[in-house]
């Protein structure tokens, strides 16, 4: 009774094809956007910015990217960390060569560069599928990290091999560097994430998304309908890498400020967690990308709060428990709900529709 769509008739195909066809969803989304844009910026502090909101936004973007490739187009990828590194190092190099360029443009160009790299590493996907492709993308992860470590040009021949962001402003307010206020970095990420999410959703609900899903579900039939397999797979690699590259650029420029490639873009710190995000959130679901990112970002914080602050364990013990619980949760999710949090949400909606009646 809470979530009922009775009486909401669609009289045009356009309204039937809208992103939020139901009134309840529209209201919920508008409220969320109102809070995100007009309330949080005024109350945000450094802890919420650094620990929760900015990483959540950045990882949502990476999860959307990987979901396009893996969830919608069915091409498994373990190279997320490598592609995020491409985004980060592109940003760094463009910043060095064009000191006056606007940071927003720099980040978008970094995304395009990552897209180009993604296309190159997507080429094997025509010949190999499934686990074999996963191994090929794993190679790209190790190759890219190795490359950024090995060639000093990428980190401007600095002694530590670290790259550090310099201050850049939007409308006179610094958004990168140590001086950037919390609300500025948050809003900067939020604007990019919201815009790019809508773009992704639009792609998914039009021709491109249907070609991806056709390739995912039955590539032979797709080819006979006239979907070119190579072009479609490469477009998924390109667009997915664009999103992951932008996420990598934000991760470096806005979130961390200074990074060391082997540490920050390792397979265990980026590639696997982002893959977990889309598995836990829901493969082939936009909502799932956000839910998964929120889950993975907040789980360690929640567990630490529970174990250290409430139960009173030492921080080290808590860390060990965290890793164990993490692994357990992955197994539980894969067995109990392989379609992830997004599916749980649609089940909940179904229940809310009937509540308080059982059927």
């Amino acid at each position: 009774m809470i979530y009922k769509e009775t009486g909401q008739y669609k009289s045009s195909y356009k309204s039937d094809h809208a992103i939020f066809p139901l009134l309840q969803d529209k209201i919920a989304f508008s409220t969320l956007m109102f809070i995100a844009f007009l309330i949080i910026p005024f109350v945000i502090n450094s802890y919420w910015e650094k620990a929760i909101l900015v990483p959540f936004l950045i990882f949502s973007l990476a999860a959307i990217g990987l979901n396009i490739l893996t969830g919608y187009c069915g091409q498994v990828s373990l190279g997320t960390g490598g592609f995020m590194a491409v985004g980060a190092f592109s940003t760094y190099k463009i910043m060095t060569y064009f000191p006056d360029m606007n940071i927003m443009i720099i980040i978008l160009i970094s995304g395009l560069i990552t897209a180009a790299v993604g296309i190159i590493f997507g080429l094997p996907s025509l010949r190999i599928k499934g686990f074999y492709l996963a191994v090929a993308t794993l190679a790209s992860q190790f190759f890219l990290v190795w490359l950024f470590n090995k060639v000093p040009w990428f980190y401007n021949y600095s002694d530590t091999g670290q790259i550090t962001v310099s201050e850049r402003t939007m409308f006179g307010i610094p958004v990168t560097g140590a001086e950037a206020p919390s609300y500025a970095t948050y809003l900067f990420c939020l604007v990019l994430v919201v815009t790019l999410s809508f773009a992704a959703k639009n792609l998914i609900r039009s021709k491109m998304g249907r070609s991806w899903m056709a390739i995912r579900d039955m590539d032979i039939a797709a080819e006979i309908i006239g979907v070119p397999p190579l072009k479609t797979k490469l477009s998924a690699f390109a667009i997915s890498s664009f999103y992951i590259g932008v996420a990598g650029a934000l991760y470096f420029a806005v979130f961390l400020g200074a990074i060391e490639v082997t540490e920050s873009f390792d397979i265990m710190t980026i590639s696997f967690p982002v893959l977990f995000m889309i598995i836990i959130g829901g493969l082939g679901s936009m909502l799932g990308s956000f839910l998964g990112a929120a889950f993975v970002v907040t789980l360690p914080i929640g567990l630490k709060f529970l174990m250290v602050d409430i139960v009173g364990l030492s921080a080290v013990t808590a860390k060990h428990f965290e890793i164990t619980i993490w692994g357990l949760l992955m197994i539980v999710f894969l067995i109990v709900e392989p379609h992830g949090l997004a599916r749980l949400w649609s089940i909940a909606k179904e229940k809310l529709r009937r509540w308080p009646f059982p059927y």
Partner: protein, 266 residues
């Protein structure tokens, strides 16, 4: 050769002519020296016992298999082989013996994929989703809805096709092929595994498509009752060789065909 060439051919004249087609996989000869032609606007049936090479023949027509020798004359142009994408662009659609739907997508989305070749907007426009893209999307939705009405698929519009019963999946697959607005429709055992009512429905759909949209139909089917009733001409294959062709009543009395189906007593 193109869709335009195919459209220009008058009804009753040859649309596809297969000349001496042979197809071998290593030492296995799937087709040997098969020739026949399909006339525009007819219902053409390919029959034969199991393993006769019927599906291989369809795969040659829409470019999935490349024949070892022989030529394919499509809409007046001789070719050694077809390409799947080219076949799709030239107005050839097909269904599969084992259903090849996009199982994770809804019926509506499956049918919409049939329109992919007709959607022209580029991906940047799709990402912005304004004006022309929305308009194009609506136009295609309208023609897909016509197919949905025709095949009575309204109630399963939003259902993921993987969860539909077999008979309906077969119908959705026909719908996806029809959404392409094909000139030539290749049906690989559209009635396999169906009960009598479902077969009647399917025959009705096939005949309506043929009569009203003037679509040429190339059909593989095992139910001889259906084949004899709905097809205009028949070709019979056995062990990859053509053993007979002609009108249904000629085939019914063809000695070689009867022997192939019933066996020969020594």
């Amino acid at each position: 050769m193109s869709l335009e060439d195919l459209k220009k051919i008058p009804y009753g004249k040859t649309a596809i002519e297969l000349k001496n087609i042979s197809l071998a996989f290593g030492g296995v000869k799937a087709l040997t020296d098969v020739s026949f032609d399909v006339k525009k606007g007819e219902v053409f049936a390919i029959i034969g016992p199991n393993g006769a090479g019927k599906s291989s023949m369809l795969n040659v027509i829409n470019g999935f298999y490349k024949p070892t020798s022989g030529t394919i004359n499509f809409a007046g142009t001789d070719r050694n082989e077809m390409e799947p994408e080219l076949a799709a662009k030239s107005g050839i659609a097909r269904t599969f013996q084992n259903i090849a739907l996009f199982k994770g997508m809804s019926t509506l989305d499956n049918l919409m994929t049939g329109r992919l070749l007709k959607q022209k907007q580029n991906f940047l426009m799709q990402a912005l989703y304004f004006g022309p893209v929305a308009k194009e999307e609506e136009e295609h939705r309208e023609s897909v809805e016509r197919v949905i009405d025709f095949l009575d698929l309204q109630s399963i519009r939003r259902t993921p096709v993987g969860s539909l019963p077999y008979g309906l999946q077969k119908r959705v697959e026909l719908g996806r092929a029809l959404a392409m607005e094909p000139e030539i429709l290749l049906l690989d055992e559209p009635m396999a595994g169906m009960n009598v009512e479902e077969k009647q429905d399917m025959s009705r759909f096939v005949l309506t498509v043929n009569n009203e949209l003037k679509t040429t139909i190339v059909l593989i089917e095992h139910d001889m009752g259906v084949v004899m009733d709905i097809s205009d001409r028949i070709v019979v294959l056995d062990y990859g060789k053509k053993i007979g062709s002609g009108l249904p009543k000629e085939i019914r009395n063809n000695k070689a065909v009867i022997d192939a189906y019933l066996g020969v007593s020594d």
